[in-house]
Assembly symmetry: C2
Homo-oligomer: 233 residues x 2
């Protein structure tokens, strides 16, 4: 049984590469983006009353994972990359149908240059992600009070993050020019420690693309220091 | 952008036709079923550690809605069928990609006749539904405490349900033969009032298929009476 599905929208996201994307939605409150709706789903009436919901489910394609294929078991980051679990016991992007599922905060519809956009935040989605469905988050049926999950433990301590005076000044300029709180975004992303489990403990330099800047930061024993924020466009 | 997706499993469900299916999962605790896994996803190792979760997300195809197509706005049953909302503000089966999303309780893996099955309950899925992905329900990211939904109100009163002595005896026999609590299933399904909003208030007879029986019941002013339970196989 095969089915053909089409993108109904495309994600515009602050996350411009895989590295740095939070491991789940909701973790980085300053992460923002929008969904650009594609015909025939770019009609306003298709979203009537969606603004009575605070959150929406997005079903999407892990489009950048498709070329890599999938394996029956994976090493989820929750377990420090040490233990293998079945792929269906994880939310890995490398899945048989490469379908993703994510809940994000919904901020409303916006028309711009003849296009229709859904503004969202707290997302964990790569720029360019194809959206294949949008549904309201219904607390009555989705927020299960009695659900349990054994091996997923998120009570991780946040990393300490500091900025050089140069990086701080760059963020301030960026905010004035683009009206985006880049410093909060960088801080919240780094607090979650975006490094692969295998690189924890190493002291080295990293780069990470957020919006249209390259963020250069250093992993040290006590935490992370952002030392440079460079425009890339 | 088009993508081809394949069924990874097929639902075996107590719900043998659309009429009678609860309007969301979790409402009918006695609703049970299984997912028969299809190659190449019928390997036990792909589900290792899934039993540490109490619930799973199913992404599936609304396969019986495809032939009907979709419309930009719908009349959700929450509003008594009176008001139109955008299709993306609803969970209607009639959607551009006919993708469904449902959380069900997970009871474990079972091997039977060389096949691999996932036992589930509290489902709202039609028999024969193609499953396209399975993911663990992670309370930390899925159970949003601060989510709000304006127009969805579920605090509906349950319908009163009674059985004729003949129907009661049929349920007892069925339980002895098949080890399924048919009476509880029928009661919980009818308590939710499966009738379309347009038929509320009418006093008439209904039939409904559950497992391999035809349930005949009467809608009266004070509630529903099940008067006959007839095997159909």
């Amino acid at each position: 049984m095969e089915y053909t599905i089409k993108a109904i929208g495309l994600v515009h996201s602050c996350y411009r590469e895989k590295f740095g994307i939070p491991r789940q939605p909701g973790l980085v409150k300053s992460g923002t983006g929008a969904i650009e709706l594609l015909a025939p789903c770019d009609r306003e009436e298709m979203f009537t009353e969606l603004d009575t919901f605070s959150h929406i489910w997005l079903q999407f394609m892990f489009h950048e994972a498709i070329a890599d294929g999938w394996r029956p078991t994976v090493r989820p980051p929750w377990l420090g990359g040490q233990k293998r679990v079945g792929l269906f016991a994880s939310r890995t992007p490398h899945r048989p149908n490469f379908l993703g599922l994510s809940v994000v905060r919904y901020h409303g519809l916006r028309k711009e240059k003849g296009g229709l956009f859904l503004d969202i935040s707290e997302l964990d989605l790569l720029h360019g992600t194809p959206i294949v469905d949008i549904k309201p988050y219904v607390p009555y049926s989705d927020a299960l009070e009695d659900a349990t999950s054994g091996f997923v433990q998120f009570a991780k301590q946040k990393m300490a993050v500091q900025f050089s005076s140069e990086a701080e000044a760059s963020c301030k300029r960026y905010q004035q020019e683009k009206n985006r709180n880049l410093k909060s975004l960088i801080t919240e992303v780094l607090e979650q420690d975006p490094r692969p489990a295998s690189q924890r403990g190493l002291q080295r330099e990293y780069g990470m693309l957020l919006w249209d800047v390259n963020v250069r930061w250093m992993a040290e024993e006590k935490g992370f220091t952002v030392f440079l924020v460079i425009p890339i466009e």
